[in-house]
Structures are given as structure tokens and as C-alpha cells.
Assembly symmetry: D2
Homo-oligomer: 337 residues x 4
Amino acid sequence: MIVKMKKEATREQMIHVEEILVGKGFQVRDISGIEYGVIGVVGDTSKIDVRDVEALVGVEKVTRIQEPFKQANRVFRGEDTVIEVGDIRIGGGNFTIMAGPCSVESRDQITEVARAVNASGAQVLRGGAYKPRTSPYAFQGMELEGLELLKEARKETGMPIVTELMAPSLVEKFDEDVDIIQIGARNMQNFDLLKAVGKTRKPVLLKRGMSATIEEWLMAAEYIMAEGNPNVILCERGIRTYEKFTRNTLDLSAVLAVKKLSHLPVIVDPSHATGKRWMVKDLALAAAAVGADGLMIEVHNDPENALCDGAQSLTPEQFEDTVRGVEQILNVVGKKM
Amino acid sequence: MIVKMKKEATREQMIHVEEILVGKGFQVRDISGIEYGVIGVVGDTSKIDVRDVEALVGVEKVTRIQEPFKQANRVFRGEDTVIEVGDIRIGGGNFTIMAGPCSVESRDQITEVARAVNASGAQVLRGGAYKPRTSPYAFQGMELEGLELLKEARKETGMPIVTELMAPSLVEKFDEDVDIIQIGARNMQNFDLLKAVGKTRKPVLLKRGMSATIEEWLMAAEYIMAEGNPNVILCERGIRTYEKFTRNTLDLSAVLAVKKLSHLPVIVDPSHATGKRWMVKDLALAAAAVGADGLMIEVHNDPENALCDGAQSLTPEQFEDTVRGVEQILNVVGKKM
Amino acid sequence: MIVKMKKEATREQMIHVEEILVGKGFQVRDISGIEYGVIGVVGDTSKIDVRDVEALVGVEKVTRIQEPFKQANRVFRGEDTVIEVGDIRIGGGNFTIMAGPCSVESRDQITEVARAVNASGAQVLRGGAYKPRTSPYAFQGMELEGLELLKEARKETGMPIVTELMAPSLVEKFDEDVDIIQIGARNMQNFDLLKAVGKTRKPVLLKRGMSATIEEWLMAAEYIMAEGNPNVILCERGIRTYEKFTRNTLDLSAVLAVKKLSHLPVIVDPSHATGKRWMVKDLALAAAAVGADGLMIEVHNDPENALCDGAQSLTPEQFEDTVRGVEQILNVVGKKM
Amino acid sequence: MIVKMKKEATREQMIHVEEILVGKGFQVRDISGIEYGVIGVVGDTSKIDVRDVEALVGVEKVTRIQEPFKQANRVFRGEDTVIEVGDIRIGGGNFTIMAGPCSVESRDQITEVARAVNASGAQVLRGGAYKPRTSPYAFQGMELEGLELLKEARKETGMPIVTELMAPSLVEKFDEDVDIIQIGARNMQNFDLLKAVGKTRKPVLLKRGMSATIEEWLMAAEYIMAEGNPNVILCERGIRTYEKFTRNTLDLSAVLAVKKLSHLPVIVDPSHATGKRWMVKDLALAAAAVGADGLMIEVHNDPENALCDGAQSLTPEQFEDTVRGVEQILNVVGKKM
């Protein structure tokens, strides 16, 4: 950690800051320049908030050198984490496709889509039972009934299921019923929810928040891991930028960043990233090419009448075509599906 | 709502789209140009998701003309909403200052700060009992004990209290104990939490999400109002941009936008917006000048040793100076404190 | 174009707006809802500035339906533009790699790099003679001498050269000396420069501005084309976002957007997008997978001592490895190098 | 400057980096932690590009502590720069209003507006002769004729004139004809243009680029100053963000940041920042309250028929009202007009 003093800070103020840091167990080194006092701080600074040091009198700016996440940090665990969901292994050279409708709408719909995506090679079935919608007047999901239908579809196809959890009060229910618990982008910093899923040992699919930095995203994973649950799968789903042609801007460099900084697996959701069906296949290929550990793709048997996100859902035929393309890319990059 | 067809869309596809819209009770008008088919849709489109119409075959893009919020919309309620908290009136020409520490740390601390800000003219006491922190290793607040200390400080000073709620399970407790329930920026789209506070009649301070558009923010207010609670106070606290000199970028034009689009009161939090103590006063003056209905300001009796956000907390003396400046601005713009 | 009137606008104001629009040769359709007057405007609105219509009394908002670009618009030219540079064809199923150092530093350096990238399969040699640097104290390029060295390297290897033009006064010189004129991100809306290169018939590589929307980027292309030069190659090089882990955020969905909206070729620059050497190969593969028409990659024979952008430059060996990977991806997506 | 080595970097690599830095005249201090090697670099690092150090083998990240601007830096000049334009003094406790139409359209128009804004208290007349427009098909300004009309308006009213320069070839003409040369947001990093105006001694109004950081903005000022022209006036005009309700997002905290980091005067343009006439007055008051050194405001005698930016232009009456409000705010903050 580097502490830059103000130009007008006194020698006493700098000593005061150093004493406080030493009192907290750090070593300090004077690396002052001509214009400013600068203190280099040596020790494990991951549990200090840089902003607290910035509050000290005479301090202008504090810069962290070490990343604030520990358990999610590749520095402390060199090999890739591989997460097992039944027979499926996520991360570490495996490539996993999760597919299904935005929301569960009926027994026929979810079963039909499940069979189709399974036949094309998807390994995990997605489907929303509880839906976070911008408008209170929009369809909010089939809720518990939707969960039951997902379970039926799992029974029918043998595919594990992933679905979004929005309320801490439902954690136990989800822990029992589903195979992977999804935390949506809007709840990436809903810390109560993160702590609640951290108390289970269920794999958690943690979507990147709409405008979360990579560090904040890994800190959200750290919340889950700090409670004892190491099974976190990250999911890049586009970030909010000034460009409005797409729903969000897919940040594929984030896949590389995460793999550098962390040992956790990271998959990509091109459906939410773009909001446009006709972009999904090509970005799925790109995600496979860049080195993602999998994909999450929305598929609907009747996108025109979907109760949500029809505009970004593939038909089963388009999904089949996408998976075939992805397979070829995986051959090139040396991953297996 | 305007539906633009693809250039290659057939006449049949356009008729199909029109039929679906008519089937949903809308009137349609053909306003096609030379290159594209375009349909103007007349009727209350606030309950349709434009993205669902975009899912129809042949459709390229759908643009909403009408805002999707109803109860928060000034179109349906011309006069300003005024929210009463005890004797205090928020909105409608009144100017309300909420002040206090980032987090409650001890009886002495909260009482001392409460007395000081009260003496300077703050009407509402803020203080976090449950703290959303980026790191799981950072101080998470005194929780229930903090809530009790806030109540004591209220008793002592007579100031109503505002504090952040993070878990739906604590809504009843907060409804009983606090005067204004704060929903933090990270939870602006935690819809379960919004619905829960919507079921109370307690005033809710709704902070703008880190990268929420004004429309999404008002839709979050709509979630609360749709459950029956009309007492929503909005709080602009800076948005996330590429500029990192400040913690966030304070968007004072949002105050004007909200006042145009909605009848709800809107206050400004310059402390979180900037993260820098030395910017707070001048931006507080600017917020008063632009027409905000109040301020939320962090004040600490010992910022150097604050357990959170010391770097952005004013001392009681700095707060006093800020309030005196704000008063003079309010004289110019014709508001009263 | 859709004109939404204010709620409080009078009938007379709406008629006034309609008369003005009719006077400009448009047809108008009343598509008013219950709360607002709304006018649908039919005709070629590409030469109207929506903001001018917004200036009319009673108007609240104007939304364009038709894109404002004409010559760059795929609607008016269905087939891909293919740009010829000597024997090389850019666009239309071809894949072109442009490579070389950030800046020309010496005869040895540019010749050595040119030979290496040529041997690996690059078709065009890049190299900066005039360098836009954030700091006036940083190396500004070898200027005319650099241009001469580039020409020598062309002579030696037979590769056409692309280099950045910053001053309108040098257009003639560049038109004579180079094969492709590059317009950098910072100058994407330097309209004088765009007009100047528009007056030549030389292929122009137009980089996307740091925070340019896709529409603004295509409008910049339109500036060049409107002067008579149809030979525009677009280059996505990352956009500015809140995320600072990478230098910029590479927007691969922009490739798809451009291909949908325009017939112009679009290539990708992963070096500037990320600023990180170790990300370049994987994003190059992703760019090939998503459907880009080529790549621009920085290569240096001695990155440690490069006078600019060494941190993002590949060594010749890394470049060779990248090209071999890209080739395999091109086999999958059916493009040829 | 702080150099963080990669975890896997060898001791030799770290020594190599240290040697290179010492060879460039710096002192180095080892401030390594347990996981990483870290080097503190002491000396004037303003002329090093951090990215060049990042290119060294074994280096992970380089962080600058010292700002890279010198002449614009308040550290090297404590007192405010005051720029004189005839009798007018800009900066240092003075408040200057520049007003006029977006573009010069006719003798009558510019003269009429000039008289009106002069009567209301504007000290400088603005008006575009050369207009940067997103579309090549939009009105590009009256060019030289517009310049002549501006000079006539100056003669008539005695007000100095400010107008935008877009081409380096016109620098001499502008130096002779105008009182303040404006560099527009799109050209903030048009370094050829910056160098050209740097060679004059004419006051330069440097608008902040659409997505320029404060540091980049001050570096652009540094380009002008490094050529010998110290007369730079900065102008905040809104930045590009995800929020599209306003044309840009006005960043009033930038005024405070600039005043902290630099001694140069900084004014605010609420017209371009918002694009909405009805927001201009309130944000002008806020700009005065926050401590800006002046305003630039668009005024048109007939906004409905303005050839550009009518939607954001005030009428002379609205401008008069705005100036009267600003005066009252200036009384509060202790500035004089």
C-alpha cells in the first residue's frame, strides 16, 4: 500500500500516519519524492480499507498494491478450481453450456426446451422461476410452481438445473431443490444474499454486476467463499457503457482478467450481454475462442410468445447451430465439452 | 410506442405484428417510410415490455414514447409530494438536511455527533447499523445494537432517524424502530427488498443505483409505490463513470430530471458522490442552488478514527460551516430549511 | 422520425410543428396517445438534426427512426465493400492482418519487424511516424524520417504500409507515400482531417473514437465518403468504460453491429484495446471468431526498449503464434487469410 | 512511481528493472511485500510513460504517484492564474460570462444577440463560425464570413469574441481576429492543433473532451503551455456516461478537482452539458455555487429557427433571468462579475 501525503503536510503528520500504520502491524518505508512525502507500507493490507487511511490528516491519496481478495486469488491457489455438479465438471479445461428459457412458463414449455437443448449438447438447464424485472407490472415468474416444473424437467432429462435466487429466505429451499444457485447481476452486491449462499456448499453462479469492476466482482465471490462455500462460478454478462446499440457491452477481456487474478471458473452469457438474438452465436464463438469455461444461453421454443426476453432467445435450431460452431472452436483452443 | 420493421420484413410480418398489438388492445397507425415499415402504437403501453415486441418476427427495434412509470409520474400528479416525518416536511419547497456518521460506532460517538448536527440545523439523524461493505473482512456495522443506539440518540435529541435496511427479514423491525428506511445504491434493484418496504407506510429513502438510469430509478420507486407505499424520497449519490478522481460522479442534472418527470422529493448526498471531504461543502451549495429538496451528509466527531468513510466525513465544525453556506443559497433560490 | 409533444403543449403548437415539418417536405401522421401528442414523420429525415426539431415550442423529445448515415448504410448497398490495396483485398470474406511497431524507431527496427511479421503472414505493415501522445514530453515520433523508413521497409518486403495522419497539411504527402492512411481514435471527429482524406481516393483506416457510439463512428465514415472517397476501413480498438483493468474495453459486439448497419469492412486492434501483451492473442482469436475482417497488432523486436507501447507489443515469436491460432479459427468461420 | 513485479518474477528481473531505473537517474527503494516484489521510485517521473516501465520483463503494474503535468500543476504555482482579455480578467476571484449563439447565422442575428447578452451582463461574445457537426450534411457554419460578422458585433458592442478553431491552418487568422480561441471537446487531443495555438500568446478556451479524464484534460493544457502559451482557460461541458436523459453529464466536481490540481481558471458550459434549455439556469446557479470562474451559455434571439442547438439555447429574456440569479449566488460565494 502506498500513502501519498499532501504537499503541505507537515513532517509531524507523516510521522503520525507512520505510527498508526506501525501500530496496526505494518512496516513502513519512506519513499518520498521532492514534492510529496510518500510512505510504502509492507504487510498484509487486504484487511485495511484504503479509504480509512485516506481519512488521516495530511494524507492525499492511498493506493493499494495487493488485491483485496484472498480466497478467490490465484496467488494463493495456482491451479484452476473445478466445480462438480453431478457428473459435470466446470472449469479446468472443461467447457460447460447452460441453456434454457429466460423464465419457466409452463410444463410443456420447459420440458420441450430442456429436451431440445439437451439433445444439442447443453449440460445444464437454466430457467427463471423468480424473475427480477425492471417494472413491477411485468411478469415476475411462476415462483414456487416454476421451481417444481424445473425439477420435473430435470427428472425427465437428467440435466442439473440452475435458477436465480433473489430472497435470502429461500436459500434453504433452493439448496435442497436446485443444482446451481444463480445470483443475478442486480444482486451481485446484495451482501445478505451472498452470505446466505455462502453458508451452503451449493455451487453458486455469480453474475457480474451491471457496472461492477473485476475487483468488486471477485470481492463478491470472496463474500461467498469467506462464509465457507468455495464453489463459485463467475459469469460475465456485459457491462453498462455509454453505447446503447446493445443491451450491455460484452467484456470478453474480463474472462482473461479473471483467469489471471483468480482460480475460479468463468462463463459467458451472450444473450443478456447483447439483448439481440442475431448476435448470440458469433459472440458465443468468440467467448469459446477467448478461453471462457462455458456459456449461458437463452433458448425458447417460441420466442415470439416468450413471457420475457424473447428478443434475445435462440430457437432450438439456432441453438443447435451455435453449439456445433462452438465445438469447432473448442477443438482449436483445446477444450472439451 | 414505435415499432420499426426490418428492411427485409414482409408485408405479412408487419400485419402479423399489428394484429398482435391490436389483440392486446392497442390502436396501430402505419407511419412507414420508404425504406422501413414503421408502426405507431397508441394506448397505455406502460405495461408492455418493449423487448417482448422486439421478439416478434420482422421487428428491428421498438421505441417507447411514454414513460413506463405511473404512480411516480408527474403526468398523473402535478403537485409535489410532501412527505411528513413527525414535524418535518420533505419536498414541496422545504429543504431537509440529514446528517450523521457513516456507521454507528458507540453510544458516545452517535450521541455526540447527533447533538452537534442538531445544533447546526440538521433535521434528521443518519447512521448505519448494517453496513454494505465491498469487502467481507471490513467492519459490517453494529447491527441491532447500533439500531438501539440510534434510538437512544433520537430520544436524546428529538431527531428522527434514517438508517439502511439490507435484509427483507428486518423490515418489520425497521418499520417499528426507524423513521425513514434507507435503501442503498447496491440494493436499488433488490426487488424483494423494494416490495417488502412497499408493504409498509414508512417513508423510504431510495438511493440511486451506481449505474441506474433515471428511468430505472423511478421504476424502483414504482415498485415501492405499487405495493401501496407512496412515501418515497429519492437520493442522488453520484453515478459510476470512467472518471476516477472522485469516488462517483455527482449528477446534479438528475435533480432537475427527476423534478420534471416525477412529483417525488429528491435530495443529494455529496459525501458518497465524491468520497472527498474537501469537496462536500461546495457541492452541497451547488445541490441547494440546483433545486434539490435536501442533503444527506456524513459527519463524524473523529474522522481519523472512523470505522468507515472517514475520508468523506466532515467534522462538526465543517458541517456547521456547510449548513451556514447552504442557508444563504436557500435564500437565493427561495427555499426554507 | 417521431416527435413527442409536451403534456402541456397546446393543439396550436402541435399544428405549428406539423406545418414546419410539412414545409420541409415531410408527411406527418398523428399518432397521439392519451397523455401526449405524438407526430410520426415520414420522409428522408437523414438531413434533419433531431435537435433542431426539439427546439420547436411545445416539443418534448424527438426520436430518429432512420439512421442518419447514407453512403455507409447497408440499406443502400447490400453487398460488402471490398477495398483493394495492391493485391490485397480487405473485406468481403477476406481476412487481413496489419502488424508492426507502435512507432518507427530506426531503419533496423522497422526492417527487422517488417520481415518478421511478413514471414508470419501479416499482409500490411503498420508503424507510427507521427505519434499522438497524451504527454507533450513523450516521444512524438520520427515524423518525415519515419515515413521514409517505412517506405524503405515496404520496398524491402513488398508489404503495403499504413500509418497515422494527424495534420490536414500532410494529406498530399501521405496520399503519395502510404498505402492506407490511418485516422486515430483521438481524431475520429476531427472533421477537417476527415474531409481532407475524403478528397483523396486512398484507403482510410478509421479507428473508433474513445467514446464514440457506433452511429457517430459511421457518421465519421460518412464524412469521408461524402467527399467522394468510398474506401473506408473501420477499426474497433476498445472503448472507454468505468473498468480500468484494461486500457480500454474491447467491444466485439461492435463488429457485428457494424456489419449489420454498414457494408464497410471492420477490423479489430486488440493491442490498444487492452494495453496488455498477454491478452492480445486470445482476443485476436475471439475477433476472428466473431467475424472481423482482420486485425491490427503491435509487434516489436525488443518490447522492453520500445519507445512507445512496449507493454502491449508482441514479440515476433508471440505474433507468429497468434497468427497460427487465428488461421485455425478462420478455418472454422470460413474466412481466408 | 511504484513498480509491482509479478509474483513469478525472479530476483534477477527485479534487479534488472532497478538498474534500468537507476540508469535513468532515479533512486529506488525496495518496498516488497510477502507475495510480490515492489519497487518505490524516487525522482521526477513526469517525463516517463508508466506504460514503458510496464513493458519490462517481470513487471506487472506501474502506478504513478506524481501527476504528469508540470506547468499546469498547482504544486509549482500556488496562486491562481488570471488571464486578461482587454479589460476583462478571468480567474482569481473574477466571474466571467461568455454568451451568444451556437453559430453565427447573419449580421442581424449576431448583432441582436450580442447587444442583448451585453445588456444582461455577459462580458464575452461567443458564436461559432466553423462548426463541428456530427453529420456532414448538417450546416457547417458561415466560416470566414461568420468571422467577419463576429468582428462587426465586437465593434458594435465592445465585447471581446471567442470562437472555435478547428484547423491548424487558420491559427494565424484567428490569432489576429479573435480574442479567445476555443478548442472544442472533439479536438481536445488534436495535438497538432494544441501545438499550433501553443505557439501564439492568445488566450485559449480548452473544452474538456467528451470522455477525457481530468488528468488528460490538464495534459492537453500542458501541450499548449509547453509551447510557450500560459493563457489557458478550461471549460467543463459535461462528460459522456451511460445516462442519456441529458446530452452529457455535467461534472461539477471537476471544477473542484481542477482548482485543487491546477492554477488555471475553469468555467462551465451548462448548455452543451445538458442539451436542454430548461436545465440551463439551475445548473448555471449550481456552477456559480460550486466555485467556477465563469459560464459559457448559448443564447439565441429565435431558438426555434436556430441553425444549430436551438433546443439548448436560451432566449435573451431567459438569459437575463439566469444572470440575475447567478449574481445573487456570487454574492453568497464572494465572487464578483
